[in-house]
């Protein structure tokens, strides 16, 4: 994997947190990192930032801030609905970057590295170079790209390199060994393993292919592999923590925030944090 050994980048305001360092810190504690997704602007801009800060205090290690998009083909109904709410509320890319800045400048204890997760269309329209520049200056750690494969990512590779941003590409159970290797090499920070063939959403069990995929991705050269899609309970988090470096939870957090507000979200995060802290071996 071509990730630099340094896990921090510098910004005008000082040292920027990276998600790789958070994953490494969790590993040093003998547990997996908890990565949590909420779309920016959901339920509204302020509410999203407050909820995520509270989540960090409750045990979230890495923030995955969604950039709401009109045509989210990788997302199931829960996240689709949240993204629609955020867009209807007027969430624009500049608001997403503002949210990144607020999260990145939160007080110690409520601050965690922030990765933006975005479909490629909005980033392309903004301009990949401009997006990298503005994300870095907002204190963001990097970008997760669910519909951008490394084959199409030339512009993003250059822009993210220039600004020292992490870039997280996905691998799937259908990825060939050659693609696992090329994707792992293109990632900077960690590699996102989709546990199952499908879209985001809670499932009664995490895909049985996930453990094998993590192993194959590591064998293909990935330094850190986190698993997402379908994880919603502490038991599932504990199971995935047994073989992955990080556990990514999206729909379950969004549902909690949607139904019970920040208090419900904090409770779910605490529960999941307990799960990743006791990996089942």
């Amino acid at each position: 994997m071509s990730a630099p050994t340094s896990t921090t980048g510098s910004t005008p305001s000082g040292t920027r947190l990276t998600s790789a360092s958070a994953v490494d810190a969790a590993r040093a504690e003998g547990r997996a990192a908890l990565v949590g997704y909420v779309p920016a602007g959901f339920p509204d801009q302020r509410g999203c930032v407050d909820a995520l800060r509270a989540s960090v205090a409750a045990g979230l290690d890495v923030i995955e801030l969604g950039l709401p998009y009109s045509d989210p083909v990788m997302d199931g109904p829960v996240i689709q609905a949240a993204a629609e709410t955020a867009l209807r509320g007027g969430t624009r890319i500049r608001h997403v970057l503002e949210s990144v800045e607020r999260l990145a400048s939160a007080p110690e204890g409520e601050r965690a590295p922030v990765l933006v997760m975005s479909y490629w269309a909005p980033v392309l329209r903004y301009g990949p170079a401009a997006f990298a520049r503005d994300l870095a200056s907002a204190g963001g750690a990097g970008l997760i790209t669910p519909d951008l494969v490394p084959d199409e990512a030339g512009e993003w590779m250059a822009a993210s390199d220039e600004h020292g941003l992490e870039r997280v590409f996905l691998v799937a159970p259908s990825s060939t060994p050659a693609r696992l290797a090329s994707t792992a090499a293109a990632c900077r920070g960690w590699t996102y393993a989709a546990s199952t063939m499908g879209v985001t959403g809670t499932r009664s069990s995490v895909g049985s292919a996930a453990a094998g995929l993590v192993e194959a991705t590591r064998a293909a050269g990935a330094e850190r592999v986190c698993v997402g899609l379908g994880v919603s309970t502490a038991a599932q988090a504990s199971e995935v923590a047994g073989y992955a470096d990080g556990v990514i939870v999206g729909s379950a957090l969004v549902r909690a925030l949607s139904e019970g507000g920040t208090a419900a979200l904090e409770a779910v995060v605490r529960d999941l944090a307990a799960g990743v802290a006791s990996p089942s071996r």
């Binding site: 689709q80 990825s175 693609r179 989709a194």
Partner: protein, 427 residues
């Protein structure tokens, strides 16, 4: 045969057409796209595949479709000769069947047992349901909820053919959202399912493959026009939503430098009003549904709602090869408003006894305009991509032939009457 590479000059086998095309999809779909690309490449070189497709086109679709000259219509086109390529006479009523039969054969070659499709007006959904019935494949069609309501008869047709129709209510509940839902289904069921994408958009290899299956339209028409007129047409006109019928008829004329290729986009209320579906005239370079092309989007890259009286053209994107042909100037694209399309629709009905699909009426409106520019010596070939049975309701309202209240009342009467009394009273 349709499946031979003959686009060397523009190098357009994909994944890229100039700066357009590519594969902007989740990694989970890459393996399926690679499998499809490999199978299509093998099939295109396999005489048995070509023979089977040719047999189906002849014995099932009714190819070759005929060429009809329309002199009474042409009187309104500055006296230029107007010839219609009658894709409306294909089985299922449009050009869509050409592509669907090819992809259904590929589905069987790949050993898959289930097909899914998106549909707007319902034409592609009906064609897919038809091919699935013919070949014994399970079929699910995703259709925007708004479209299921404005095209209720086509929903019934698909269900009669044994397909499951799933109304999609997310986003704008129209064609683009049906595509999103089809992609989501495909990611989850890629082992046994092929996604029969209905136009020359989407990730590689769909734009090149779907074009190749429709290429027969232009190959036939070129020979038919030469035979009938003794020379090539001055202009080849076709409507462009995603762009499959247009690329199908354009393709055989690409090398004929003297032949103008004219794509007519749906301008809805007018491009200047913002309520339109003209992605080339009024769009920007961006990514939508797996490919880079020209799309209708806002400054933030969010897809804009498109508007057109024609459900089949009501799409905020266009196939990447059209974006490329526009960028090179080899093809030109002009907007046609709802009002202009409906005027041409009514004219063809009254002068020639042919009820066109409203989609195709956009091409007819373009022919009227370009015919007046060419004058009496001009020859215009128009792709009449579909028939208008599905549009009678929309047209009746447009022309005020019946009121909404009349339609509702007569429908209520039909529904409440015993079946024995209403049988045969519909179409």
């Amino acid at each position: 045969m349709t499946a031979q590479p003959v686009f060397e000059r523009f190098g357009a086998r994909g994944p890229y057409f100039g700066e357009f095309g590519g594969r902007f999809v989740p990694e989970a779909l890459i393996a399926a796209l690679d499998e499809l690309d490999a199978e299509y490449t093998r099939a295109a070189a396999d005489p048995a595949f070509a023979a089977e497709l040719e047999r189906l086109q002849r014995e099932y679709t009714g190819r070759p479709s005929i060429l009809t000259e329309v002199p009474r219509f042409a009187e309104h086109a500055g006296g230029a000769r107007v010839l219609l390529k009658r894709e409306d006479l294909n089985h299922t009523g449009s050009h869509k069947i050409n592509n669907v039969l090819g992809q259904a054969l590929l589905t069987k070659r790949m050993g898959k047992t289930r097909v899914i499709a998106e549909t707007g007006a319902g034409q592609h959904g009906v064609a897919t349901a038809t091919a699935a019935a013919l070949m014994g494949l399970e079929c699910v069609v995703y259709m925007g909820k708004v479209d299921t309501e404005r095209q209720a008869l086509n929903v019934a047709r698909m269900r009669l053919l044994g397909a499951e129709v799933v109304p999609v209510s997310t986003g704008t509940a129209t064609l683009k959202d049906a595509l999103n839902e089809a992609f989501r289904d495909w990611v989850a069921h890629v082992d046994d399912t092929h996604y029969v994408l209905g136009t020359v958009a989407g990730p590689h290899p769909f734009p090149a493959m779907v074009r190749d299956f429709h290429r027969t339209i232009g190959v036939e028409a070129r020979a038919q026009v030469l035979d009938r007129v003794g020379r090539l047409p001055d202009v080849v006109a076709a409507c462009v939503g995603g762009g499959s019928n247009a690329i199908g008829i354009f393709h055989a004329f690409i090398e004929d430098e003297g032949v103008r290729l004219l794509g007519l986009e749906a301008a809805g209320d007018g491009v200047e009003t913002g309520r339109h579906a003209a992605s080339i005239t009024g769009g920007v370079s961006g990514v939508l549904h797996g490919a880079r092309s020209l799309v209708l989007q806002d400054d933030d890259g969010q897809t804009l709602d498109s508007h057109s009286i024609s459900a089949g053209l009501d799409y905020p994107g266009v196939g990447p090869e059209h974006a490329f042909l526009a960028s090179t100037g080899r093809a030109e694209y002009r907007p046609v408003t709802d009002a202009e399309a409906m005027e041409a629709f009514g004219l063809l009905c009254r002068t020639e006894g042919i009820i066109p699909a409203i989609e195709s009426a956009h091409a007819l409106a373009g022919a009227l305009r370009v015919g007046r520019e060419l004058g009496p010596d001009g020859v215009v070939l128009v792709n009449l991509s579909g028939r208008g049975d599905k549009d009678v309701d929309t047209a009746a309202r447009w022309f005020g032939l019946v009121s909404d209240a009349d339609l509702v009342a007569s429908e209520a009467e039909r529904v409440s009457a015993p079946v024995s009394e209403t049988e045969g009273s519909g179409w």
